[in-house]
Amino acid sequence: MFDFDATLPLMAVQFLILTVILNALLYKPLGQALDNRDEYIRTNLQQAKERLQQATELAQQYEQELVSTRRQAQALIEEARAEAQKIATAEIAEAQQAVQAELLKIQAEIDQQKQATLQALEGQVASLSEQLLAKLLA
């Protein structure tokens, strides 16, 4: 069972040869592949993180823009409403003035006609009283 012979050194040599072969066939290429994959995953993760950062920043920026735009729109609406109010008030005032003026004119016309009618009536009164007088005297 314990007989040592030339098997021992030959096994050692064989083992070293196997180590060299496996180093060339297994440890080097596969180790390289593992390292490359690690590197690949790390850079990808880094990039993804950067992109996420960018996306968050962009979203924030848009959010801010949205807020400011909304505020502007609000201001615009407010302004337009005020203007419209102003215009409306002015137009109402103008219309009232016009109505007033028309009223005055009509009033004056009525007065004038009244005057004319009264004058005409006064003329008729004179002739009627003369006729009455004539009838009474006759």
Partner: protein, 251 residues
């Protein structure tokens, strides 16, 4: 070694412990059955590695996924024992230790080697031959000496007298016990596992050995992990330079 011969002579029936299929190379003797299974294991590992790295995708699938899982496991193991800065250079060594021992152990448990008849001895996990485990353990010893000397230069040897010179004999002894415990733990566990399964199969050929076989698979995996972890610990310790503070978990 009369005691060992007695033990192997015991009627453990056809469990052929201690019989080897000898090859003669020049005037050297080697255990042929160990080499046959080792080549098989190496072929599996190389084929898997080749299949995994032949067409590397960013999104892994199939065999690439499996081997990446194994590689990440080994990297974590090595990193936890040696620290962030030093571990990369040692991933191939520790990883090959783990994969080789793991596949060896499981090949012994899962591949029906019995179907292949050898003139003498039997095919089994290469790790149940003491030569294999001692070879691996000695390589670990060399590796941690190399790591320590390379990292710290000659100051590495101050670890023997670092806290106090009183511990010098123990520190020196440690350099012997480390490979000894590494090799014998692995060897003993795998051999014992195969023996237990073999004996049980002899006694009750149906169903009863199955739980023990499952336990054997578990032990085999754990032993591979323990060996690799301890190797990484020793190397990391040598580079760290405060020898022997944490011995790691022996089992």
């Amino acid at each position: 070694m009369p005691l060992i011969h007695l033990w192997t002579a015991l009627p453990l029936a056809k469990l052929e412990v201690g019989h080897h299929f000898y090859w003669h190379i020049g005037n050297l003797r080697v255990h042929g059955q160990v080499f046959i299974t080792t080549w098989f294991v190496m072929a599996i590992l190389i084929a898997a590695a080749f299949a995994a790295s032949r067409n590397i995708q960013r999104v892994p699938s199939g065999i690439q996924n499996l081997m990446e899982y194994a590689l990440e496991f080994i990297r974590d193991l090595t990193k936890s024992q040696m620290g962030e800065h030093e571990y990369r250079a040692w991933v191939p060594f520790v990883g090959t230790l783990f994969l080789f021992i793991f596949v060896c152990n499981w090949s012994g448990a899962l591949v029906p080697w019995k179907l292949i008849e050898l003139p003498e001895g039997e095919l089994a996990a290469p790790t149940n031959d003491i030569n294999t485990t001692v070879a691996l353990a000695l390589l670990v010893s060399l590796a941690y000496f190399y790591a320590g000397l390379r990292k710290r230069g000659l100051k590495y040897f101050t670890k023997y007298i670092e806290p106090t010179p009183v511990l010098l004999p123990i520190a020196i002894l440690e350099d012997f016990t480390k490979p000894l415990s590494l090799s014998f733990r692995l060897f003993g566990n795998i051999l014992a596992d195969e023996l237990v399964v073999g004996v049980l199969v002899l006694l009750v050929p149906l169903f009863v050995p199955l739980p023990v076989m499952a336990l054997g698979l578990f032990t085999s995996a754990i032993q591979a992990l323990v060996f690799a972890t301890l190797a990484a610990t020793y190397i990391g310790e040598a580079m760290e330079g405060h020898g022997g503070e944490h011995e790691g978990a022996h089992s």
